[in-house]
């Protein structure tokens, strides 16, 4: 397939792998965090780890929208579907996130809730138009990539005077999460989490540009390479990070120049700031309360804010005690360090959110990579 195969080419991958192996110093360790679930997915699905030499270690970051969503927010969506009897629209990945009382949106649907999977927020708008007598709520989640389309339907609903559509906004911000990781005691004081560089987000950066990362490079002396979601992008970014680390540089470099500029998508940014404002604080699964890390709907569009419309109060719900999602999301632990990984917690019966989305560190590792833990003689 054009423009796809070029970025999945095995021969090119071997060339880059050879360069990485030649340039990575054997005595050194290169601990690289890929922030985005999209990268985690690509690494697992294409077997990228097999092409990296031993000194390079990939750490999965918290950039999986499903994984960082706290239980309390899913509970709100379930409450809307089951108690307020709204038509609850959301992305497919959200349906299986485990919530309180052993529920999920999928289970709420089985109990009679009108929960609908949509591909685009515009579908929620259409559903609201088709059912004027019913309340329709779009459960919006995601990082900066998915925020502009949400802003767009809110503006459209306002323009059309669509009174039965509202949005339960859970949009979160990437830079705040990276700061949180870099400021965490594990990284700053204890040194238990060695972090030598970041693979920066692909799609998020198309919106916010590469500039926001310059602060991390300067302030925390960590190199950042923004990379696309194809496996060759990831390989190339690893090579660029190895070079920066070898040369003692800490800069923001852009591997994904085919889509990302320094300033990003200004039109989208303007749209987002017209409709949304910063929340003072927002709970992230794994990271806890993170200041100024999420968006809420501005007063001017209050009529389309489900939190105001239905007077919703978020209750903070603790994760299952045995679940290590929090530490895994911060890169402190590996899925195999979790006691319930692959035993009680599997993709069929996820205990923690990292096991839900195929972008989640645990699900990706379980579905694509767990054979690495168990040597298989005949498959060598």
């Amino acid at each position: 397939m054009k423009y796809i195969d070029e970025f999945r080419d095995g021969a090119l991958a071997r060339n880059i792998a050879a360069s990485i192996a030649a340039e990575a110093e054997p005595a050194r360790r290169y601990n690289l965090m890929e922030f985005c679930g999209g990268h985690t997915h690509a690494i697992s699905r294409y077997g990228v780890a097999d092409l990296l030499p031993p000194p390079v270690r990939m750490i999965h970051g918290p950039g999986c929208p499903v994984c960082v969503l706290p239980i309390g927010r899913i509970d709100l969506a379930i409450q809307l579907a089951l108690e307020q009897r709204v038509i609850l629209c959301t992305y497919g990945d959200c349906l299986r996130i485990p919530a309180s009382n052993n529920l999920s949106l999928l289970k709420a649907k089985a109990r009679g809730g009108d929960v609908r999977m949509i591909y685009s927020p515009a579908d929620a708008l259409k559903i609201a138009q088709a059912h004027p007598g019913r309340e329709v709520v779009f459960f919006a989640i995601g990082f900066e990539t998915t925020t502009p389309p949400t802003a767009l339907i809110i503006k459209d609903a306002a323009r059309l005077g669509l009174a039965n559509l509202s949005v339960l906004c859970n949009h979160v911000l990437t830079p705040a999460a990276i700061t949180n990781i870099l400021e965490s005691p594990e990284v700053r004081q204890l040194g238990t989490l060695a972090l030598d560089g970041f693979i920066g987000p692909a799609h998020v950066s198309t919106i916010i540009g590469s500039r926001p990362y310059e602060f991390f490079a300067e302030e925390y002396r960590k190199p950042v390479v923004i990379a696309g979601f194809e496996p060759l992008d990831v390989m190339q970014a690893v090579l660029m990070l190895v070079r920066q680390i070898n040369e003692g540089r800490a800069e923001v470099e852009n591997e994904f120049t085919r889509a990302v500029t320094r300033e990003g998508n200004l039109k989208a940014q303007a749209l987002v700031s017209e409709v949304f404002e910063l929340r003072r604080s927002f709970e992230w699964r794994g990271l806890g309360q993170v200041p100024y890390s999420a968006l809420r709907i501005r007063e001017a569009f209050a009529a389309f804010d489900a939190e105001r419309k239905f007077s919703l109060e978020t209750r903070s719900v603790a994760d299952n005690k045995a679940c290590e999602c929090g530490a895994i999301l911060r890169g402190v632990k590996h899925p195999r360090d979790c006691k319930v990984f692959g035993t009680v917690c599997t993709p069929e019966n996820p205990i923690g959110s990292c096991m839900v989305s195929s972008e989640g560190a645990c699900a990706a590792y379980y579905s694509y990579g767990r054979f690495r833990e168990i040597p298989i003689s005949a498959a060598a």
């Binding site: 397939m1 095995g10 792998a17 294409y46 990228v48 097999d50």
Partner: protein, 349 residues
């Protein structure tokens, strides 16, 4: 003189009529529906007996039997509809034992209000599929449920067939070293259906691969009776089928991504929906597992058949106590091809 015609029944209004509760009540309306729609289309000597069962001659050999329920949305899709699908699906399940399918039974659950014209289209499509396959529908049943309690039409078909002597095909017979062959491109049916879903509708010339595979199977086992496993990768796609066989046989599998045939359109549609073609349904394809020394011969025989012309050798059975299905990626790495957890859902980012 009276003008009453003692046995007159007004013909069924197939063009403008709808299914109503009386069509399932056992009365005259039901008899009429069966007579004018089902029996007329499926017409054969067993149905002509008008009994509640078909009396069949005793077949020689080992009998296989299989049943399959069909619920598909939309009912009509490019390349087929629920009617032909319900015939092909059961014929294929019977044929995957190496059997020659002989007879089918069909059960219909109709929703009140369903247009008779659409029902006729479906029934005609079933009749054509059954005639083309040479497997008659010899008995059946119809029920009607109230509006809102069904999805138009549900069809259950049951098939009976006979396995030729000397053939032993079963999901538990894969052995390390055996080769894995698929009969053609993967994922056509699932993506063709998905392209028509209301919420997704995307433009494509993709058509479902729905087809009866017993002819292909007969040619295969005649040339290579050593075939160990046959299975049609329907729901859950190739990945699920390989995992089932691996678990049944207590072995692992190693396949080559580059060798798995996938149409460009399917690849493209999967790409933008965030799906994996290995998990997408097929309705006219099979997976064969065969000892290594017979693999080449089997491939040649399959490629000479219209339904096997894109057959490809995609990997081999390996020893693995964990029964993993692994794949060498085109990119040069390796990964597990796992069971599907729930439905395949699109990713957000």
């Amino acid at each position: 003189m009276s003008k009453v015609r003692p046995n007159y029944v007004r013909p069924l209004d197939i063009r403008g009529g709808h299914v109503d509760m009386s069509h399932g009540s056992g009365g005259r309306a039901m008899a009429q529906l069966i007579e004018q729609l089902f029996a007329a289309a499926f017409d054969n000597e067993w149905l002509a007996q008008r009994n509640d069962q078909a009396l069949l001659p005793q077949p020689e050999g080992r009998i296989v039997m299989s049943t399959d329920c069909h619920v598909v949305s939309p009912l009509f899709f490019p390349g087929g509809d629920i009617g032909c699908l319900s015939v092909h699906g059961t014929i294929n399940d019977v044929a995957m034992s190496g059997a020659r399918p002989l007879y089918l039974a069909a059960g219909f659950i109709l929703e009140e209000g369903f247009p008779l014209a659409e029902l006729k289209r479906i029934v005609d499509s079933m009749a054509a599929a059954s005639r083309d396959a040479g497997v008659p529908i010899v008995t059946g049943d119809t029920k009607v449920v109230e509006a809102g309690k069904g999805d138009g039409v549900f069809i259950t078909t049951t098939g009976v067939g006979v396995v030729p002597p000397g053939i032993l095909i079963s999901g538990d017979r894969a052995r390390p070293g055996d080769r894995i062959i698929v009969s053609g491109t993967m994922g056509d049916h699932g993506m063709a259906v998905m392209s028509q879903r209301e919420s997704l509708a995307f433009g494509t010339d993709l058509v479902s691969d729905t087809a009866a595979l017993h002819g292909l199977v007969a040619a295969m086992i005649e040339a290579v009776p050593e075939v160990r496993v046959l299975r049609d990768p329907t729901r859950g796609g190739l990945a699920t089928t390989l995992n089932e066989i691996a678990a049944q046989s207590g072995a692992g599998m190693l396949i080559d991504e580059a060798a798995v045939p996938v149409l460009r359109q399917v690849e493209a549609a999967c790409e933008f929906l965030g799906l994996d073609p290995l998990y997408v349904a097929n309705e006219g394809k099979l997976v064969a597992i065969v000892p290594p020394e017979n693999a080449q011969r089997l491939l040649e025989v399959m490629r000479a058949q219209p339904l096997g012309r894109n057959a490809a050798l995609i990997g081999e059975v390996i020893e693995d106590p964990h029964h993993f299905v692994q794949m060498r990626t085109r990119f040069g790495g390796k990964r597990i091809v796992d069971w599907l957890a729930g439905d395949q859902l699109p990713r957000i980012c």
